[in-house]
Symmetry: C2
Subunit: 558 residues, 2 copies
């Protein structure tokens, strides 16, 4: 079931004979390898010659590949925990060589662990040789230098550094740890980075509108996601996204929800053919689920009362916009209610408030706190993101603002928009309404209730007093929809009637309707796009910044 | 992004003209509808005639469909909270009519909420008419009765019942609430179940080896999953599964792991063609991910240090066994370590111990406990499952037992198995070893370390001292593998060498190898099948019992 099965993959990869082109490539490679060997021999010869008078020859170099040979007692320190209190301590640190700069006999370099950085200082003298200095930073590691001349540590390499922490008088503005620097005694390469980096971490962390210095565009970031993931901003974005997910589950667990898992591969039976990806399923075919809705509803009819599910959702829409993905993470919930679907709106609204509050303040894991417990401080992460992508902090009300669709339309009309009562909101109108609501109520989150029945799916419960409206709602962040939901029709006869009204062939949705034939409680729910929530909370302009490996009609890699 | 997009589905469902067969069906339906109307008219007439002298005519009946018309103040009580302390209280309860039995002028019926049941008692007399009694249970609701004669409440219907709780002298063995019963004053149908149920909840809860009474086979259960989900056993299984998932995340969050989401749709580039489902992707094609491994490793190379992901994993294997699914939920983790992959084995081993302990004892949500907090008692749920599927409680050691592959092979040889040193474990040998380990060490969970290099994938790190072995491990529950993992080769040159050794075309795995070119820490991880963990913890014989809507080569519905 798990990884062992993957063993079969490699064996299938080499069935074809190599092409001429491949052979040529191989030849070129071989030539390159020879050159490389020659260079290395040359370097080694130089080193041997130099070693004679190298007083620090056992203080630097390249470690053999870590193959789990030994379990040394050495403690590797976390940069984020180093401050003035640790001054005068001898420490070992493993991190990346972020940047380095040589000034005469001194070399300043920055060691990076995730978003945390520490200044290190190496100066030729007692125990530190010229050769060692050259090894750490012979050049400024500019990747335009020819690889031939490279023999010092490349940027982004992982290194083990030993030294003494020293308190500094003037705060080090360029590092996260501003009160101490490391006076280096040993430097060893654990894993060397290629000298030619497709992007530089410093460049990738600059605001896009920086007019003087280089920045990195979205496609370059995504094509080289491994490097982009290392920037403080991207690190923070995905910690925040994990936070949204965790807060979603935590809030609902506390409300008695049960987590379920719904199938992604579905038969054709209950869904149509539009916007659905087709899968070859043994000798037949199947589809990828566009939504876990039917399964959530089946769990409700199966007496789970309140359920949620977090998982991949697929949309085969050829939409190339800032907010559409072909695969995204759905946070879906569904719950039985007693008398009124507003019970469900309240749960969802309160859940969002809980997520926003959790992201706004520092958040502690409060389950069995131990020494190894990492404290997630989303507030810091949010601040980090705003540094690169400046934005207003996200505002919300408690309890959440609920407006009716009618009230929304009136606000739009007062501002010159011409539209019918039961016309759906266009994207520009949606955004305009967001701005109007923000101006009037000072909130970036609100709920729009009672959408026109005509613009909602057939399974939406009509309003009991006026069937022009429906018991359905959307929720918005910074003027964009992030949740759509409704009370569902739970009566099979009425559901059949509604489907017929929409001109749907009843036979094709039979299994859906049958799900309600054995008694079903009134229920409502909704689906949320995780990446959109993260994007809009942070006010980012593109959902690809909040999907670690995004999929859209034009992107399937990495 | 979310549900609103589904609106497009219905419109595509009715493009074809109805066939002759469909027309005939429609006609039959129409005839049936007429008959139904006639029956209802007859029933109504009888009711009108009867109502004249019906002293309880406003105490029972069918509620209109709950359409969110009003928000009454009425409190609906939870059965699980009703005990002797609530005696003499007037309560309203919404639940399912589980069973009913009429004895003369008395009717006993059981109201069910999930796995909790309460006995209710209706007797003709003060305020309760004969007609009301008949309405609740005219017949014993046997579904073999012709629907024509049906006019009382069907089993599985959702009803609102009002009455007074009374303490009982003799414990009610047949109900979860044994100290009280409800003396009924009102009964209303909220949602009626069809009188013909494809399976009965009582039957579905019997142990499979019951020789006297009806039981339900697996396919019938799965075909009618909505009903099967309502049994106490199935309710408990999925609460336990949610618990496994929650404990997995909780433990890893506390260890500083970050949750990530990896794409399920992948390009062909980095994976082979065997056992992979193909997807039509716009004008091209793509595949469904067999494992999130590459993406976990990219996150590690991207400095996330420790990551996990929970999501769908797809295997296009035509394996029709008790433990293979074509789609399952993967609990995957990957972490950078300092010196030795045993650091990772320890984290994973401790995580399993934490899961087992969490399931064994009562578990409380310990985040902001409020009145609405539901206390998950997995121990009770486990007991419920064992009632239907008797089994030994799951045993484990703390810390976990770790054996080397070599030791495992020796144990097998001592028991008559003939096998080579570096031969992989066959399924029967795996199970036998599980039994031997249980007998010797009294544990159902153990870790087998240092598998032969030859039986592991190319990216597995060889043992540094003897390349016959590797830095890889499997973990077992009740003698079946539930996790496979290893230290991965993090050096691109060595990875290339290993791939070549396996005869893999390097060009085809270029993007995988390139992921390690910018410096990568030593790392290890593993993948776990959620459904297998739940199945084996409970000692269930089939993984389809722990997958809510299982997918296998022969099943794509519901």
């Amino acid at each position: 079931m798990s990884e062992a099965q993957n063993q079969t993959i490699p064996s299938t990869l080499d069935e074809k004979q190599p092409s001429k082109k491949a052979l040529k490539k191989e030849q070129k490679k071989a030539e390159k390898a020879v050159k490389k060997e020659q260079r290395q021999a040359q370097i080694q010869a130089q080193q041997v010659a130099a070693e004679k008078d190298d007083c620090s020859r056992d203080k630097y170099g390249v470690f053999p590949m870590i193959q789990s040979t030994e379990k040394p007692d050495r403690v590797l320190h976390q940069i984020k925990r180093l401050g003035a209190e640790q001054a005068e301590q001898n420490v070992w640190i493993r991190g990346r060589l972020h940047t380095s700069r040589t000034v005469g006999k001194q070399c300043f370099f920055i060691i990076r662990q995730q978003q945390f950085t520490l200044q290190a200082l190496l100066f030729v003298g007692d125990g530190v040789s010229k050769q060692m200095l050259k090894f750490v930073a012979k050049f400024d590691n500019d990747y335009t230098y020819d690889v031939l001349f490279y023999c010092s540590i490349t940027k982004e390499s992982i290194i083990d550094v030993a030294g003494v922490l020293k308190k500094v008088d003037v705060k080090i503005e360029s590092c996260s740890q501003q009160d101490v620097e490391l006076h280096v005694e040993q430097v060893w390469v654990v894993s060397a980075a290629s000298p030619r980096l497709p992007l530089l971490i410093e460049d990738a962390m600059r605001p896009a509108d920086d007019e003087e210095l280089a920045t990195v565009n979205l496609d370059t970031r995504l094509d080289n996601r491994i490097l982009d993931l290392r920037t403080a901003t991207t690190q923070s974005i995905y910690r925040i996204e994990a936070g949204v997910c965790q807060l979603f589950r935590e809030t609902l667990n506390n409300e008695g929800f049960v987590e379920i898992h719904t199938p992604k591969i579905i038969s054709a039976a209950s869904e149509g053919g539009a916007n659905v990806f087709e899968v070859t399923y043994f000798k037949g075919s199947a589809y990828l689920a566009q939504s876990p809705q039917l399964y959530k509803q089946m769990a409700i009819a199966g007496d789970f009362d309140k359920v949620y599910t977090v998982g991949a959702v697929f949309r085969a829409e050829d939409s190339n916009t800032h907010r559409h993905l072909t695969e995204f993470v759905g946070l879906d919930l569904e719950m039985a209610f007693q008398y009124h679907y507003h019970e469900v709106i309240k749960v969802i609204g309160d859940m969002f408030v809980n997520i926003f509050k959790g992201l706004q303040t520092s958040k502690y894991c409060n389950v069995s706190i131990t020494a190894s417990t990492v404290v997630f401080r989303y507030a810091d992460d949010v601040a980090t993101v705003f540094k690169q992508y400046p934005n207003e902090p996200f505002k919300f009300l408690e309890p959440s603002l609920i407006l009716t669709f009618k009230e929304g339309v009136e606000m739009l009309r007062e501002n010159g928009v011409e539209m019918e009562d039961d016309e759906d909101l266009s994207t520009p109108n949606e955004k305009l309404l967001g701005r109007l609501v923000k101006a009037k109520y000072d909130t970036d989150f609100y709920i729009l209730d009672k959408f026109p029945l005509a613009v909602r799916p057939f399974y939406t419960m009509p309003d009991p007093h006026n069937s022009k409206w429906s018991n359905s709602y959307d929720m918005f962040m910074r003027g964009e929809e992030i949740l759509s939901g409704a009370q569902r029709v739970h009566d099979p006869d009425f559901l059949t009637e509604r489907a017929k009204h929409h001109g749907i062939d009843i036979e094709k949705i039979k299994s859906y309707i049958d799900a309600f034939r054995f008694g079903a409680p009134p229920h409502a729910g909704g689906g949320i796009g995780l990446e959109r929530v993260t994007m809009l909370y942070l006010g980012l302009g593109n959902v690809r910044l909040t999907s670690m490996f995004p999929r859209d009609p034009k992107r399937l890699t990495p």
